[in-house]
Symmetry: C2
Subunit: 457 residues, 2 copies
């Protein structure tokens, strides 16, 4: 009864709710670029305001050394009910290349049941779906079935640099029985629940050669070209099979259990379909290292995400540039240690320093790989909620991406983690990011079912 | 007497002449960037006007399929006197990175005897030094000792795409006994005369992978990263000794004669000093391939001049980009065939196409390496002119750079070539390009001596 009234409340208000969601999507909360700092703050303030509006207490945008964390709580369910700490992030990726977007990325457009906007699936949907679920339950029953604390992060896309000190400072405030990570999504016709996530480390490498850009006709053949050194380093990162060549890189990689391996094998065709759909390709790389599922979720990776050097304008410029460089990130799996792997990477690339060129490395983000709840009463409640809304349980899977906060929360708060993702759609981190609206509201219903069941346990 | 009066005329007018030269340097005639096309035309018109002012006939900016060629002639020396076709170029390289310039590149500044401006040594000095020499001789003697035709090119920095059809169309107009190439320079205390120049070929390579930028967490490990393919290609261009790995690349490389080798060996220390001064480095690359002189003038090179791909902004963006690419040029020596080498390069890089990524090559400029006059009466007249002005003959040397027009002129007009360079200074093709003013006027005096001696032969 509780559930039905709340679900009806949501169903009666789709257009209004999407209009309010669009307000949130219009705020360009790009966390990596300092030029957007005021917009990130504005986005946090908007969320604080909405939490207050629906009846949460102690709502605030808590300042950190970086972007603020949005906090709010509803603790009137009593001490017999569990307390769930709900996490999502409200910051978004940069939008470049802007010219590939069909609509401006911060002007949401609804087209064929898809809501196009930066942040629509990653991860403003995670924050907003919970706001709808809470408001629907409060509006129809005057209460929530469980105690809720929410934290919406503003730095997920930059590796969460301020979250570890934040969690240490507010350890008491964040105490809970379960942390629900709302970052991720499902397939249009199949709910998904990830139970591992890869860690991530990043670095920026710069190679310096001559004191300034030089005429290639005058010095070509004698002055080493920093771009060539960059090419040598990048080529050396992998062997021909795609295996990463950083010494000791695979030493601590956990081998999946036989049960897990069977689950992964059963998902191989789905992963092929997803990868083909995502990339527009039918052939994939590094086949000798393992299945597609293994390579994208259970094995670590190393990808150069950006490269630069010399002249990039129209026509030609016959120079040997003074410097060149690249940005790299690596996805790690249990039980790789991010600090140790990053140190090993630094030593590896610094080995390319010679008397004719220097290699400089700036360490970037680090986050641990994590293992979440895989079975037990919380997973049972989630699966029952999915059965009720999608007609089938979620597929448990390993996730290739990273949610930096998770491993840190596990270590700092000693808390169990589970996931519930609302971002069903496509083009996360790319132009024309979109959310499937039907799946989004199905996710809202799943959340209503889940919180209600958790209150009954 | 003729010479002395002309030299005195120049000496009395240094400041005025530099002021007029600065007018020319203020015009941003960047030929490679279409945004500057009107400025290139304005620069040509300025030169036509100055040729008319000093008394040349038939002055015009001749339209081509690209930028115009400035032409002017003075043919009153009679049929007994030789006709010299004087070449320089008035276009300049781009100015990026702009933030490294101490003064705006098109606002000339005289500081410590150095005139700082883009084009000051490469190669507006070549055009303007001749204008001064002609005006001085005409003003003081009412005549020139030889017949003169000038052509000032506007596309040298982009590989002279319009010059071959231009020369074919105007073959009769350009008929002469000698072509004097005024592009290059001397050391501050040692005149230089190059007798070979390397050819050049260029190409742009693009590697395409997924249909759009993808989330590296979602597809990393399965979708090949185009930046990695770019790294593989660049790393494969050279072996560890610096030897270029394009099949057949060295097949037609001419070995210098014993006489030339001795001349080259005698210049090794000077080249080391020049390279150290240019690059700020004391160690050089590819030592196993030959001496510094050989590597920078008698051996071919392959340099990546620019590279791009993925995210280059602040912070991190965890993508596998849809594409990445680079610009490359190769310096060629006699008797390499530019078309054949470029074709071989294209096949080499296209060999990196696979089922997971495609390599696309766009061919760029091609120009032949050339051999100029090395001895005989023209060289004797030039050396006598240098003796009279610098107190010593020019050092004959091989030049590492390229003057695309030379090989083509040799082939199309069947004409002898010699060089006289006015660009003594530093930072050609780089920020803070500057001309040494004393050396420039010493060069003007050399030209006055040379033209006078050629009229006496």
């Amino acid at each position: 009864m509780t559930v039905d009234a709340a679900l009806a409340w949501v169903n009666d208000r789709h257009d209004d709710l999407l209009a309010r969601f669009s307000e949130l999507l219009r705020i360009p909360s790009v966390s990596t670029d300092p030029a957007y700092a005021a917009d990130v703050q504005r986005c946090a303030d908007w969320l604080v305001g909405d939490l207050q509006r629906i009846g949460f207490a102690n709502c605030q945008a808590i300042a950190t050394s970086g972007h603020p964390v949005v906090y709010g709580e509803w603790l009137k369910a009593g001490s017999a009910a569990p307390t769930i700490l709900v996490y999502a992030h409200y910051d978004v990726q940069p939008v470049e290349p802007l010219e590939l977007w069909k609509n401006p990325p911060f002007e949401p457009v609804l087209r064929d049941g898809k809501l196009y906007a930066r942040g629509s699936i990653d991860d403003k949907c995670g924050a907003f779906a919970n706001l709808i679920a809470f408001e629907a339950l409060l509006a129809t029953t005057g209460t929530l079935p469980v105690n809720i604390k929410v934290i919406f992060e503003g730095e997920e896309e930059t590796g969460s640099p301020s979250m570890e000190p934040f969690v240490r400072e507010y350890q008491a405030l964040l105490a809970a029985d379960l942390m629900l990570i709302c970052d991720g999504g499902s397939l249009p016709d199949q709910p998904l629940m990830f139970y591992t996530a890869r860690g991530i480390i990043g670095a920026e490498v710069k190679v310096t050669g001559p004191s300034h850009d030089l005429h290639s006709g005058l010095v070509g053949g004698a002055v080493q070209n920093p771009i060539h050194v960059v090419g040598n380093i990048i080529a050396a990162l992998h062997d021909e099979t795609g295996r990463i060549q950083i010494p000791g890189f695979y030493a601590d990689v956990q081998t999946p259990s036989a049960t897990e391996q069977a689950l992964m094998d059963a998902q191989e065709q789905d992963f092929f379909a997803m990868l083909k759909n995502e990339s527009g390709r039918e052939s994939f790389w590094a086949n000798e290292l393992g299945s597609l599922v293994a390579r994208t979720t259970a094995l670590p990776t190393c990808d150069v995400n950006g490269i630069w050097g010399g002249y990039q304008g129209a026509g030609t410029k016959t120079i040997i540039p003074a410097e060149a460089g690249f940005k790299v990130t690596m996805r790690l799996v249990a039980n790789q240690d991010p600090q140790a792997v990053l140190e090993s990477f630094c030593q590896f690339v610094q080995g390319f320093t010679s008397s004719t060129a220097e290699v400089h490395v700036t360490k970037g983000q680090t986050s641990y790989p994590v293992n979440l709840l895989y079975d037990g009463p919380v997973i049972d409640a989630l699966q029952a909620a999915f059965e009720a809304t999608w007609g089938k349980p979620a597929m448990l899977y390993r996730q290739g991406g990273s949610v930096p906060i998770m491993g840190m929360f596990q270590r700092e708060l000693g808390i169990d983690l589970a996931t519930l993702g609302f971002g069903t759609g496509d083009n996360g981190h790319a132009p024309n990011e979109y959310l499937l609206v039907d799946a989004f509201f199905r996710g809202v219903a799943t959340a209503i079912h889940f919180y209600t069941r958790m209150g009954q346990q």
